[in-house]
């Protein structure tokens, strides 16, 4: 296994081709192997990867703890619903609505960022948490005096994505087989996710990425390097929010229905858990975290069947068990892999023992004497 991995590392082109084939075939493998409901899970995995990559820009790159991230997801989703559903009678095409949603979310990112520029750590977390709740509560209550969001009932009959006359809303029948819309959305989401990964990786190694790293490490020193810390922090908020808004629009089109319930605090915390679990600041880690935290809870649904088969009845509700195992997994990870499953180089080193430091101090003193 290890030798096979080494071999792949030496042949990047072959790896890329194999990975492309795997990603292209994945929904069919899941659909035929585990049932079509797993293709739907795959779609959600991709949406969460997109969200996690966006939040990673704010938290992982720039070090700004944002607990209200899901608000941007909500804004993207509601904007899609406003512009492409019977609610206002507007049915704009998705390629127009998605960018508008992403930009609106980005604008709100700046609006959230501006008053919180002087805050860090816990204080920033509390303010962003409040922001997330404000958006959700607005969505919950803006059905009167003017019905903007349809309140807690949510918005229904949102237009599915449609490309060149081909609507993603209906299943496709070919060769005597039926493919539900989840298959089409998989490829659409995959395209956006790959784009997001590309952008995030390029950002990391850019001048902007280095400025964010400096701000994360020491804001005063970063300013002393000549970095415009205010603009860079706003940019991090805006970029992260843009990804969130994009994911929200895709979510609305995919589900056809949205309600404020989908955008509660738990969702923000879940996305944050994904990047912490996977390895903050490191894109492969973030992807792994999103995949695991979306797929594992789904897999744990089978615990109900398992109990029925072995005990004859369901002793513990699988939903309760899922949360318990989720908690245990997080605690175990903090104990055994505090920097995440696939930490970035920097975080791995930060958590590693620093035995050498005392020795070095001695050695440098010796130097000074010489």
């Amino acid at each position: 296994m290890n030798r096979a991995l080494d071999g792949l590392r030496k042949r990047p082109r072959l790896t890329a081709i194999l990975l492309a084939i795997l990603l292209a075939a994945l929904p069919f493998m899941m659909g035929f192997g585990l049932g079509n409901s797993w293709v739907r899970v795959l779609d959600f995995v991709l949406l969460y990867v997109l969200l996690a990559i966006g939040l990673n820009i704010v938290v992982g790159y720039a070090g700004l703890l944002d607990l209200g991230y899901i608000a941007f997801y909500a804004l993207g989703a509601y904007l899609y619903a406003w512009l492409a559903s019977p609610h206002f009678g507007l049915h704009l095409p998705f390629w127009l609505v998605l960018p508008i949603g992403a930009m609106l979310a980005g604008l709100f990112g700046v609006l959230l960022g501006a008053p919180t520029l002087r805050l860090r750590g816990d204080y920033l977390a509390i303010v962003t948490l409040g922001f997330g709740e404000i958006i959700r509560i607005f969505m919950n209550n803006l059905n009167a005096p003017f019905n903007l969001t349809n309140g807690p009932q949510g918005m229904n009959l949102i237009d599915p994505v449609s490309i060149a006359g081909f609507s993603f809303g209906k299943p496709l029948h070919v060769f005597g087989m039926t493919f539900p819309p989840t298959y089409f959305y998989y490829y659409l989401f995959l395209a956006f996710t790959l784009l997001a990964i590309f952008v995030a990786l390029r950002l990391q190694d850019s001048r902007i990425g280095r400025a964010w790293a400096a701000i994360r490490e020491d804001e005063i020193a970063a300013a002393a390097m000549g970095i415009n810390t205010r603009n860079m922090k706003l940019l991090a908020f805006a970029m992260g929010a843009t990804f969130g808004g994009l994911a929200g629009g895709l979510f609305a089109a995919f589900q056809g229905f949205i309600s404020p319930e989908s955008f509660n605090l738990w969702e923000s915390i879940l996305v944050l858990c994904m990047i912490v679990l996977g390895g903050m600041g490191n894109i492969p880690g973030v992807i792994l975290g999103a995949v695991l935290l979306t797929a594992i809870p789904e897999a744990l649904r089978y615990l109900g069947d398992f109990q029925r088969a072995t005990l004859g009845h369901v002793a513990v509700d699988p939903a309760d068990l899922r949360m318990l195992l989720f908690g245990v997994a997080l605690v175990a990870m903090m104990l055994f892999r505090p920097a995440g499953l696939l930490p970035s180089r920097q975080r791995k080193r930060e958590f590693a023992a620093e035995d050498g430091v005392a020795e070095q101090e001695q050695a440098s003193l010796y130097d000074a004497r010489a």
């Binding site: 490490e217 002393a224 000549g226 205010r230 080193r349 620093e354 440098s364 000074a368």
Partner: protein
């Protein structure tokens, strides 16, 4: 004309007046130090110079008014700060820290030459260039902070308590380096509690106390001043 000219600088945090109207200047090529006890307002003064805290008064650099400018704009005009407590980027490597010092520069060749020069000045950093800065010893971190500030080719380098928290031998080594940097033509303003060392290497000094400048003059004269000797040099 002086490189840096400060007149009536005041800095306050809410109701607390940390700096109560001070005048000082630094001429090109000079090594000037600002000494004083804890809480005298020295660090606040440096932070004010760099726009990290807002100040009132008239602050001019090369004749241009700095008051009211944002920190990054002030740095772009040629000031660099080695912050108190060093402020290195712990999770970046030594080499990455140095590159960050050249953040505003675009001349790739010049940056490369300056990096080589920094490694000549501090051979220890060259040995450890791929190591994370957070794993360096305190003295090495101070060297890195100075080297990083020099990477911006500042016309005025501000140092905030370079001796803080370091072993005496390391302090001596850091001060030898500061003297060497001054000899190479960099203008320096050093804030220091360790009056003894600061007066040894500097040409002129200001003595701060409770937010005002009590004394100023050539360092060798101040070092002999009975008041200074009693208050700062432990006589």
């Amino acid at each position: 004309m002086s490189l840096l000219m400060a007149q009536g600088i005041k800095i306050s945090y809410g109701g607390i007046h940390a700096v109560r109207g001070i005048d000082f200047e630094v001429a090109k090529g000079e090594l000037v130090c600002l000494i004083g006890a804890n809480g005298a307002g020295k660090s606040s003064t440096l932070k004010g110079l760099l726009g990290l805290v807002s100040h009132s008064g008239d602050l001019r650099f090369n004749g241009e008014r700095l008051t009211g400018l944002a920190t990054h704009a002030i740095v772009a005009r040629g000031l660099a700060l080695v912050p108190e407590g060093r402020g290195i980027f712990g999770r970046l490597t030594v080499a990455e820290n140095l590159d960050m010092g050249a953040y505003l520069r675009r001349d790739r060749d010049g940056i490369k030459a300056d990096r080589t020069r920094a490694y000549e000045l501090f051979p220890r950093l060259a040995e450890r260039n791929k190591q994370l800065a957070g794993t360096l010893s305190g003295g090495e971190q101070q060297m890195l902070a100075i080297a990083r500030a020099l990477m911006g080719r500042p016309s005025l380098l501000l140092l905030d308590e370079p001796s803080m928290g370091l072993a005496p031998l390391m302090v001596r080594k850091i001060y030898e380096t500061i003297a060497r940097i001054a000899q190479e033509g960099v203008t320096l303003l050093v804030v220091e509690q360790n009056a003894h060392l600061a007066l040894q290497i500097s040409q002129r000094a200001y003595v701060m106390e409770s937010g005002v400048i009590r004394l100023s003059g050539p360092s060798h004269a101040l070092a002999r001043d009975p008041q200074i000797r009693a208050a700062y040099l432990g006589d």
